[in-house]
Amino acid sequence: MNLTLLMYLIPSLIMFGCGVYGFLTRKNMIAIMISLELMLNSIDINFVVFNRYLFHGQMEGMFFTLFAIAIAAAETALALAIIINVFRIAKDVDINKINKLKF
């Protein structure tokens, strides 16, 4: 039995699907962020896997993942800062109840 490209893509795909499901159904903004991380992570895996299998002499995929991790970290930090700030004002992190800025 060989570990083919497909075999690595399937967990990644399921992880992405879970991310989508979570993003769509969760109400808690932090939970949504967590789902987002799942999706990001699955994409990272894809990059790495494709790099490893198809372009093993090069390192673009790896670097892309590297940067993606960095940016994800930044993004999460910022998003969580905002969420906490919103929580301070609205006393809630339910995405449907944060609508004071809406027209």
């Binding site: 989508v20 993003f23 769509l24 949504i32 995405i95 449907n96 609508n99 809406k102």
Partner: protein, 663 residues
Amino acid sequence: MPLSYTIAVIAIPLLMFLFLGLVGVKMNKKVTGVLGVCGMLITTILAYGVALTYFFGTGEGQMVDGVRKAVTVFNPDWLSFSDQLVVRMGIMLDPIAAMMLVVICTVSLMVHLYSLGYMCDHHGNAEKGFQRYYAFLALFTFSMLGLVVATNLFQIFIFFEMVGVSSYLLIGFYYTSPAAIHASKKAFIVTRLADLFFLVGILILSFYTQTFDFFGNDVNGIMGMLDDPQASLAQAGTTTFMGCSAMAWALTFIFIGGAGKSAMYPLHIWLPDAMEGPTPVSALIHAATMVVAGVYLVARLFPLYVLVQGAMDIICVVGAFTAFYAAAIACVQSDIKRALAFSTISQIAFMMTSLAVSSANGQLIEIHGGYGLGYMASMFHLFTHAMFKALLFLCAGAIIHAVHSNENDKMHGLHKYMPITSIAFLIGCLAIAGIPPFAGFWSKDEILVAAYEKGLGWGLWMSMVAGMTAFYMFRIYFLIFHWKKHEIHTEHAPADQPWTMTLPLIILATISIVAGFVPAANLVTWDGAPLHTQLNWTVACSSVLIACVGIGLAFKMYYKENALPERMANSCRGLWTAAYKRFYMDELYQFITHKVIFQGICKPIAKFDRAIIDGFFNMLAQVTNQTSFGIRKLQSGSIQSYVYFYLIGALLLAGITMACVLL
């Protein structure tokens, strides 16, 4: 005196109006009044001079071969509609214009003078708005003078409007009283409605004649076209619309215009209400001058009316009916001014009828070898009536001023207290009743002669109305001055008024006595040529007899307090009430204007505008708005729903791509 002085006759009242209106309000009241009287005095002297020059002078082309011609003193363009159709503002003198100058100025002067006393309270203090009152009087005098000297039909229309407005302003002089406001509004709107017809008539007529002028100076006037069969007027006579010639329509419409001003049935309803104005105003405008403007208008176009017998017949019937109708109402009125107002309507109708009975079958009726006796009689009656009716109104004013009421039952037995007024009123009554040698006899007699000449029926009808006239006038006289002893309601006993008020009475009474001897037949005739008349003894005797019967009846019923009038009223209560309520014409108008026009037309239109027209545009906006709100739901701000949309789109795209690739 040169005829061009007429310009001054017109201009002085105008200047007085502007001066009193703009500057006068800041001045002392008495001073403005005296100024007004002085201005009017000068105007009157000039007007007399001009009229005498016109009638008896020969210098300025007014007499050609023994026929009086119209003299156009001056006629500048005022408003050019097109190259031919030009409205001019000019001055034209002909017999009736000259006569009207005299009438208007005389009565106006008397009223100016009289008002000095009338418009003050018992302590001699002038009323509020005294200056305004004199300004309006001057405006009215100007408008009326402008009307009578008009050189063209449009100028008459213009001054018709002007006198209408002056009348509106003067009726509404006491502008805090709801009745006065209502009356002034009614007067204006009714006459405006009539003027609408007048305007349409002018439009029709001028379309064919291509001129408004009566006697053109450079182009041929309307009158100049009469003899020329090729002229466009003849075309107007042949062009037909709904079975009548354009000419007949035009003239009928113009008559309706005149009927509005002259209070012919059914447009008479404004005149009795107009008595809400100050009494001198009623004397000037609503008895002597403005209300005869309609008669004057028909007389002015008399040669045209003669051509169209249909229009003449309408005038004749309307006039004769109105004369009777108004006389019948006058017999039962209890308000002295209203009774006099109906008397005025009746007398004006006399004049109208008189004009109309001059012709039959499109030809003037020949009487004693002369033509147009009715025309002459009408103008003569206009003259005498102005004098004695002004006298009666001024007397009424004096009485009202003394007892502070318009109602008969507040008066009674005043002869003892106000002898001068009583005698003046008696003279007026005798004049209007047609007792020789007072003025009314001579003019009314000519009218009756003309009516009998037209047909026995017309003559009898008019004689009957003349009898009724004598009755109701003496009814008023006896009720006011005799009937029973006066009950003093105020602390002052009623008395003759100050000289400013009695002097006009005396002057007018004198005129009423002697005016009948004015040789009107030589002076005011339709073609300017002197008319030979002689007293028709049959008609004269019978009319005096009828008048005496009327007076006798009135004496029997009203000289001493008795139950006879009450019994008679009770014997035909329905008729009496109907007459007292003026045969419910006001209620009919009220119904038409309020229920039909206001509630039935205006309100639905306004609702339609708001609901349907505006609603439609609002609906457009609403639909746009609703659509926007509908679309806005898509832009909810909820990330999760965006993701759904995104996913749907992405999956669709992917599905389509795959379908394309795989299949």
